[in-house]
Symmetry: C2
Subunit: 174 residues, 2 copies
């Protein structure tokens, strides 16, 4: 089923609920739509990655190392940038090491730490893969004017701000 079909069914479903519970706030459809769009974006990315036998997590990890000045970082730090859970990092790094895209070894300064470093092959991979994604990425925003873009950016950040408050509020907002 296509994304638009999914959204259609979502709208129908919410309409059905609203008939029974009219107080249902207006934002539900948008929240769910946002989730659907996000899933579709992820799927799009994974689709591009699959032929190379990498998944989103592994790619994000690789890119994070790529973007560091010296191409190195530690599992904990990578997780800060990628929003991945630390516990996954071991497995992800295992996979990248096996593919020869990064190396991993103990840190000299602090022996609790592990340093991950992108290899030349890893750098080549990123430099080849990333640009290959640009056309599709651009198409996602096709027909968006500059003000469209900046509106969307502003509204998403506002949403994030509100959500952030919710995270920190224990119970219901006043």
């Amino acid at each position: 089923m296509s994304l638009l079909d999914q959204i259609k069914m979502l709208d129908d479903g919410v309409a059905g609920v609203r008939k029974l519970i009219p107080e249902l706030p207006a934002g539900v459809e948008m929240c769910r739509m946002l989730v659907l769009i996000s899933e579709s974006l992820q799927a799009e990315l994974e689709h591009k990655l699959r032929p190379h036998k990498l998944n989103d997590s592994e790619f994000r990890t690789l890119i994070t190392l790529f973007s560091r000045p010296d191409g190195t970082s530690t599992p904990g730090e990578v997780c800060l940038f990628t929003s991945l859970g630390v516990t996954n990092m071991t497995r992800i790094a295992d996979a990248l090491v096996k593919r020869g895209l990064i190396t991993r070894g103990p840190s000299a300064e602090d022996r609790r730490r592990v340093v991950m470093q992108i290899t030349p092959a890893g750098r080549r991979f990123v430099r080849k893969m990333l640009p290959a994604m640009f056309p599709r990425l651009k198409h996602v925003f096709a027909g968006f004017t500059n003000t469209d873009r900046s509106h969307l950016n502003r509204l998403l950040r506002k949403l994030a701000y509100n959500l952030n408050q919710l995270e920190h509020a224990a119970g219901d907002p006043p």
Copy 2:
């Protein structure tokens, strides 16, 4: 780490990549931000559900049945509305049956089918749970004017439209 922190790290990370690959299109941050927001929304919902020992999938399934005129549907149909995979439906229905929120039995007309029906307890549960979520849901859109809302709605649907085209295009867009 809070959502705003995550977005901060995301922005920093993308900036780092852009230094090395300046052609990186403008939309990346927004795409990733969208995913982060979606994850946060999901987490928020699951947080509300956890005390009741239900997860998002189970709740969506329950609400779908709730919204049907006769409170019944089939696994396949529920999946259309919820965007869940059919293969998960067995397990999800198992859980809901065990909790006494739905019943499940063979269909009289078509014996390939299974009919799921929400129980009175299930209806009570929805009627109690849903309104409890409204305050937080409203807070997500706090500070949004009506035009904000309709802009966001329009832009998200436009995004969905573009993504939908990508799904159907085999390779890169022309």
